[in-house]
Amino acid sequence: MIVAQRKTIPDLLAIVEKHRKLLVLGCGTCVTVCLAGGQREVSIISSALRMAAKLKGLPLEVEEGTIERQCDNVFLEQAADTIKNHDAVLSLGCGAGVQALAERYSGKPVYAGLDTAFIGILEERGVWAEKCAACGACMLHLYGGICPVTRCAKHMLNGPCSGSREDHCEVDSARPCAWQLIYERLKSIGQLDELKKTKPPKNWRPSLAGGCRTIVREDHRV
């Protein structure tokens, strides 16, 4: 899932203070699961904004709403009437949700209430960790399902950097060395031979370097 975290209340207030009627719009998908932009967070952030605005003497009216998925036009339509009645929208969706809203409602100011952080998983209660950099050319099959692009601080693809200390990264001693994890994983599944194969230089063209990416499926187009 996409993992995000909210901006601070002073930052949010600075973004929206020029408006009078604000809609705080949550998203019921990834950001609900990562406890950043679901219905509950919409309620909390809206309350906080109302209180902060009142303390500053700003005439800000804040209303709340949540739709199932902000990155999908079908669901965006459901919020059309509500959005029409407000001066601006503070989206608690990920970056994709904010942009989908801005494209669909071109005459309406749409602001991001969250900082979209990464694609990751819930590692333990209250802890999310990045697992995928969306590099566009997945090589997880070569590394026992552990991504060196994401989890190695130096993105090493042909072995460890030799800087690790006690199986932990020299860049961040709290983080396990990705290459140690790859070695142990390949060993446990009997695929250590994979490490003897030299990997060709990674094709970075499908990654973000060339600008935003588009996937077209002709078989699904109408």
């Binding site: 509950r40 309620s43 209180m51 009142k54 303390l55 003497g57």
Partner: protein, 148 residues
């Protein structure tokens, strides 16, 4: 409003299994506590979410008291520990908003602790009295008349 005469309105979320029972016991024992608290019984403080605390303060409460079981004594194992983390999160959020974080407090009370509950409530009332009315109410009307 003079600090000495100000009567704060405190919303006290009390766990059914401990603090609420101790409030009951306080009544049976004729132990008095300040009438400034409005007690709300909850099945467990772990049921409480940050939004409840925020709504209470937004709609006119001057303070929020969350009273759960003693640590290790929660009927649902760790509900009170969850509540404490949420109270701490709310305290940080209040600082971001510009409101004194001491307007919300988490305490641990067992069902037999009628006297400590009364003392805790008195202390909370005194703390909030010193802080003065909820600043939300100072700047225009609060949403207390029409809570959402």
């Amino acid at each position: 409003m003079e600090t000495e005469t100000f009567q704060p309105k405190i919303v006290a979320f009390c766990c059914h299994y401990c603090a609420y029972s101790s409030a009951d016991l306080a009544g049976s024992m004729r132990i008095q506590y300040p009438p400034n608290v409005r007690i709300i019984r909850t099945p467990c403080t772990g049921r409480l979410e940050t939004e409840y605390f925020m709504k209470a303060l937004e709609t006119g409460a001057d303070g929020v008291l969350v009273a759960g079981c003693l640590e290790g004594g929660c009927h649902f194992v760790e509900g009170n520990l969850c509540a404490r983390r949420r109270v701490n999160y709310t305290r940080d959020l209040l600082v971001e908003i510009g409101i004194e974080k001491d307007r919300i407090r988490m305490v641990n009370i067992s069902a037999a602790m009628a006297r400590p509950l009364a003392d805790t409530i008195a202390d909370m009332v005194e703390t909030v009295r010193k802080l003065g009315p909820n600043p939300i109410k100072r700047n225009g009307s609060s949403k207390s008349e029409n809570p959402s």
